[in-house]
Symmetry: C2
Subunit: 400 residues, 2 copies
Amino acid sequence: MATVDRVQRLAELAVTVGANVQPDQIVALGAELGHEPIVRAIAAAAYRRGARFVDVSYFDPHVKRERILNARPETLEFVPPWYGERIIQLGELRASRILTRGPGTPGLLDDLDPALTGRDILPRIKESGKVVGDRTTNWTIIPYPTPGWAQQVHPELAPEDALERLWEEIVHVCRLDEADPVAAWTERIEDTRAAAARLNERHFDSLHFEGPGTDLTIGLLPTSIWANALFETVDGTAHLANVPTEEVFTTPDPERADGFVTSTKPLVFPGGSSTKGLRVRFEEGRAVAIEADEGAANLRAQTAKDEGGVRLGEVALVDREGRIGPLGTVFHDTLLDENAASHIALGQGFEFSVAEEDHGRVNKSGIHVDFMIGSPEVDVTGATHDGERVPVLRGGAWQI
Amino acid sequence: MATVDRVQRLAELAVTVGANVQPDQIVALGAELGHEPIVRAIAAAAYRRGARFVDVSYFDPHVKRERILNARPETLEFVPPWYGERIIQLGELRASRILTRGPGTPGLLDDLDPALTGRDILPRIKESGKVVGDRTTNWTIIPYPTPGWAQQVHPELAPEDALERLWEEIVHVCRLDEADPVAAWTERIEDTRAAAARLNERHFDSLHFEGPGTDLTIGLLPTSIWANALFETVDGTAHLANVPTEEVFTTPDPERADGFVTSTKPLVFPGGSSTKGLRVRFEEGRAVAIEADEGAANLRAQTAKDEGGVRLGEVALVDREGRIGPLGTVFHDTLLDENAASHIALGQGFEFSVAEEDHGRVNKSGIHVDFMIGSPEVDVTGATHDGERVPVLRGGAWQI
């Protein structure tokens, strides 16, 4: 497939299966510089579907770098009020939101002081957590291959070969190599929906992860609800929050996580800094020790932002039927890597993953940092409120 | 001078002589895609001067093209509310604003229906007129050479030579080839300030432009004040609104313009569409006929936006001492070309160019379109309230 056709198909997927853009909607489209071809194709596709306005925000990580290098440190957490107000208004106006992902210059911030990079969370805007929780926007996140990202993922290949390989992988995991990608997605979404339904039937009190370097028990809230990424807005618009997605997830009890866990994939932050070989110890829900082979300080700087930064907001299970895990590729990007493996997230939880009576117990934070803890070697076992232990995942296959 | 040094010097000029960025200010920086090097250099320079935050907005004219091609025509005037609210807040917060100019893809919209392109005025935001009038932000506009722009300006040269030539011209007209550009600007600004003071002493009732294809009388308001582009905010921060600038200007009486005028330079709109060989007839302040060799419809679509779109908001005089006119280069961009020649603008006037008693008489419009009407062949003569005719410019030289 020529790249221009791939861009076209990816853009169509973003506005149909992904965000499900509705006639007369405003579409907020956030992208990094270097994503121009997919941005323009998404804008065209959204307008063809009748969008009222496509509001494009290009993010320049090099400007972020200049800020961290030159700005007064005490200003690094400042964000102008209109950043958050725009997000809040997107919710009020029932807009659609599309984010493209794919770093142009991986590692761009790696040589900077993590204590400084951690203070500037842009392009993440803290109000976006509220709008996600309110379910007022139909949104999606899709990957876009850049030359820099391709070099990071496939350093052993020549630049043009690396980009071609990454494109082929993105096309495959986005099921764009199917004759009817929409039908392929409909089928896979039904699979994960059914898995979530079985988990909800069991109504586990906690999950136990056991494997190399991992022995972690995560408590669930009384009303924690498992779901896949097919979300529905308050107005009933279905949208696939991530493309691709292979996970089922819920919000755990932020006060019950005990044991230790070793990440099974690198964790890469939006600005390009990363944490590799991560090991976290939890006590009574708090991450009390964060160690890593590389870049532990990058994650510590994030989690130090607020009280909820060291507690869990998400636990997610990924089976071996997805298309990402079998590739064996480390994409250095959460959007893809999290769908290769079961994962947890420090920071903001999802109110919509629990019943109203438990809203107050969902973790609150300005951050939401996913990291991968699953692999075929990691067993997942559920414990019921009666103390019964039920195998959930063995070798990546559902046992329930 | 290596391009990296030119970018650096231009960026320093933007935050010093231009916007005069103050410690702890927010700096709103608007640029077209393709301006990344100057954007990053300006951000770094602004942070070094103590800026609190540099809020970069990249504009993508290709997205605008996709909108005009694919959106429902009735939506083309829509702008999300947060665009204007951000501008208003920039004023309330006494922010600094910097715009870089230099089209990446000149003529990108020229093949589209002018009736449609005229409806979408972005990246211009109508609230910016209010913030300029309120004098609440210290702002500047500076040029940045792009390969596409260089090809448009110097089509006879090979691409790399065209870019080099344009860079040399920009360096020259921005006085970056002086040992001390700041001192050079201080001197030139004093020259135009003195010319404006002499015009104010004469207190003309009207100006008469006479030359090839031009015989136009423009009435001034009783309190029209001549000034150069060294503005001062309500809080007393001086800033040079355009870099480079060579003009003195005021706001005329929107009800008194009579005769005909022929433009002496092409008029290029932000999106890339243009009007060449423009001829306009005025009666009682209104542009009653707009003709052109090319693209008359592009200007007509702009002026049709509102009642004030066909009346004058600005009249400006440029002497022959400036650096742009002598180059003889047509830059296809108002920022530079308007400083080669005397000019007028259809649309929004400047309240700050008149005393409070005349605020109500200043032209109101959502547009402000400059076009060049001066040349060494065009005589400018002032008429006093007593009917005395006083030569003002002959052969481009001040007579007063």
